[in-house]
């Protein structure tokens, strides 16, 4: 059994079924033909079908080779990835209140520090990159980046 295929195939089938269920209230065209629901239902139905095919193939297949790397590096890696996700969510929530340069600076510093850049270097690089990005996008390309209490 290939567990990854059973899991991912099952997940695809479930997602397809959920999407199909969401199309049930979609209206028909005036002449009774399917309208907005036709295409999503077709796609969602195929997703259920092929999700099940993948899960079935996975259940019958030979087990895949074990992934390399120990549990410790795996856990550190997952934490790194979670920090990346948290950093972007934090950016979205904070940037309009704190301003672009401070928010991006903190995000860059947190990630660099977590990934093992020395403290001094992380501070310097994060500040430099945040200011550099601001100058490039806001001043050269004229993107109206979010502003905070300070004008950048």
């Amino acid at each position: 059994m290939r567990r990854a295929d059973v899991v991912s195939g099952g997940a695809a089938a479930l997602a397809g079924a959920a999407a199909y269920a969401l199309t049930l209230p979609f209206p028909e065209l005036a002449d009774g033909h399917p309208g907005p629901a036709l295409f999503p239902r077709l796609v969602a139905g195929l997703m259920v079908l092929f999700g099940l095919v993948l899960a079935w193939q996975g259940a019958r297949g030979e087990p895949a080779e074990a992934a390399e790397g120990g549990a410790a590096t795996e856990r550190a890696g997952v934490l790194n990835a979670l920090l990346v996700v948290a950093a972007v969510v934090g950016y979205i929530l904070v940037v309009e209140r704190a301003g672009f340069v401070p928010t991006l600076g903190v995000l860059l510093f947190a990630l660099m520090w977590r990934l093992g850049v020395r403290l001094g270097a992380a501070v310097g690089l994060a500040a430099g990159l945040a200011v550099g990005t601001y100058l490039l996008f806001a001043r050269v390309l004229l993107v109206p980046l979010p502003r905070g209490p300070i004008p950048f």
């Binding site: 991912s8 999407a19 309208g35 996700v85 990630l111």
Partner: protein, 505 residues
């Protein structure tokens, strides 16, 4: 045509356009030379810059960046046995083993030469084929566009390497995402959950940046490996290259043709071109058994094919608005952003722009000789750029890029969600490129189907009532039947030789 090309070359010779081309070249060489960063990611990261440029430098920057990045992917393959982009994966083993035998200079020299020749061959086909195909495409109605888009979707699944079922599921994910927002037939809001930002659908560019940028950042921080030390690059890299190219001239021609053809097929790009050219070379060569052990022939073949596919990819993108690969999917997004509608009319309405794309392909491939040389000389330094600084910096560019298109933080959220989706999919062995093709082609399929169906009062036989449409339908349905036929053939063969090895996919 020569006059037009001359005028286009003159337009490119403006100092600001040349500067854009040069900077994009450096950007492409840098991205390509760093394993884990791809040409598609480069195209997605260029979009916020393209947004603020005139159409000509915007398209020129993507053409130049992609040509450089696909070549530069060969450098770390030879130096540290890691392909810089997926397009160099087919011949990484040969490149590295030859380099270990003291032929690093020759390998890199052949990489440059095959990339330049392949790139120029692709450009010639683009220049000759695209306008003729566009004239032909003027006769297309919604029926033909429907079949063409379905053909594109089918190619994306059937030609992609790995499990066809996973490719298909990835494509369905993209198609499902493309249905979010107001529908074409009735203006009914689908899957919006009351969120106003979703009414206009999932913004394509932030989704691209997420799928190809953020997912790579996540992958890199999950497994922060150290780069193995790179070998020293000899100073003379073009020595002995010409005899190799001359010896394998037929290979160059064949692989250039294969690469361009794969490029022209909707949805299949440089990586598939390289694998296919490699496979054909292995079958045809007397020394095929030596491939993978350090042979120069597959490097010539696949190195030519991947660069030649790049220009081929622009053929369906310009002529039909159907992406040839994921880079040209970004290009189509950029064209719409500039108010230009890709399709046969663009050749009549914007001839100067189309010719400048041609001219950029020629210029970029010629620039590859000096710039490729410089990149090879600098490769030791590029490979030493620390990942733990680079990844946060790329994430910052992704955030700003996703925001800049609509000045919307919601788009940054889309970027993050698609980034996580792309990461999870790759981790479970699903290719990401079909998601993008689904996103781009989904609306084309649905819109043309609905238009045709409503126009003919749901008489579905009309889809088989026009000669060109019928031909496209026949090819598409034939493609669908291929896997079925090959399974049946394999079964019959297995039944005939019950003790023989079971053929595997």
């Amino acid at each position: 045509m020569i006059d037009h090309l001359g005028a286009a070359l003159l337009a490119l010779a403006q100092p600001d356009v040349l500067l854009v081309i040069l900077l994009s070249a450096v950007f492409g060489l840098f991205l390509g030379a760093i394993p884990g960063l791809t040409a598609t990611m480069g195209a997605a990261l260029l979009v916020p810059f393209a947004f603020f440029m005139e159409p000509l430098p915007a398209l020129a920057s993507i053409v130049t960046m992609s040509a450089m990045a696909i070549f530069a992917g060969d450098i770390p393959a030879a130096l540290v046995r890691m392909p810089g982009t997926p397009s160099s994966a087919a011949y990484t083993e040969d490149s590295y083993r030859l380099a270990q035998k003291g032929q690093l200079g020759l390998v890199l020299g052949v990489d440059v030469a095959s990339s330049v020749i392949g790139g120029l061959m692709g450009a010639v086909v683009l220049i000759v084929a695209a306008p003729r195909l566009a004239e032909f495409a003027l006769n297309f109605a919604s029926f033909e566009y429907f079949w063409l888009a379905v053909l594109g979707l089918s190619c994306a699944v059937l030609i992609s390497p790995g499990s066809a079922v996973k490719g298909l599921i990835a494509l369905l994910v993209g198609l499902l995402l493309s249905t979010v927002g107001i529908d074409v037939a009735q203006g009914y809001p689908r899957f919006t959950f009351g969120v106003i930002d979703l009414l206009s659908g999932i913004s394509f560019i932030p989704a691209m940046i997420g799928l190809f940028g953020v997912s790579e950042v996540l992958r890199n921080v999950m497994a922060p490996g150290r780069m193995p030390p790179a070998a020293r690059v000899p100073s003379r890299i073009f020595e002995g290259v010409w005899p190799v190219v001359a010896r394998y001239r037929w290979n160059v021609l064949r692989s250039g043709a294969i690469g361009t053809f794969i490029g022209v097929l909707p949805g299949a790009g440089a990586d598939i071109a390289a694998w296919l050219a490699y496979a054909v070379a292995k079958k045809r060569s007397k020394e095929g058994a030596e491939f993978g052990k350090g042979h120069i022939e597959p490097i010539v073949d696949a190195g030519t094919a991947n660069n030649s596919s790049l220009a081929g990819d622009w053929v369906p993108a310009l002529v039909f608005g159907i992406p040839g690969d994921s880079i040209t999917a970004v290009v189509i997004g950029v064209l719409y952003m500039k108010g230009l509608r890709p399709g046969p009319m663009i050749f009549e309405q914007q001839p100067a722009l189309v010719y400048s794309v041609y001219a950029t392909f020629i210029l970029a491939n010629l620039l590859l000789i000096p710039l490729g040389y410089l990149a090879i000389r600098a490769s030791g330094h590029i490979l030493r750029v620390p990942r733990n600084v680079l990844m946060p910096a790329i994430l910052a560019f992704c955030i700003v890029g996703a925001y800049a298109i609509n000045n919307s933080l919601f788009d940054v959220g889309i970027m993050l969600a698609t980034g996580v989706l792309g990461y999870v999919m790759e981790r479970y062995g699903f290719p990401v490129a079909p998601v993008v093709l689904g996103l781009v082609l989904g609306p084309i399929v649905e819109q043309n189907f609905m238009t045709s169906a409503i126009k003919t009062h749901w008489d579905l036989t009309a889809f088989f009532g026009r000669p060109i449409g019928n031909a496209l339908a026949a090819v598409t349905i034939g493609l669908w039947l291929l896997p079925l036929l090959s399974t049946l053939r394999a079964r019959r063969r297995a039944r005939r030789a019950p003790d023989g090895p079971v053929p595997s996919r």
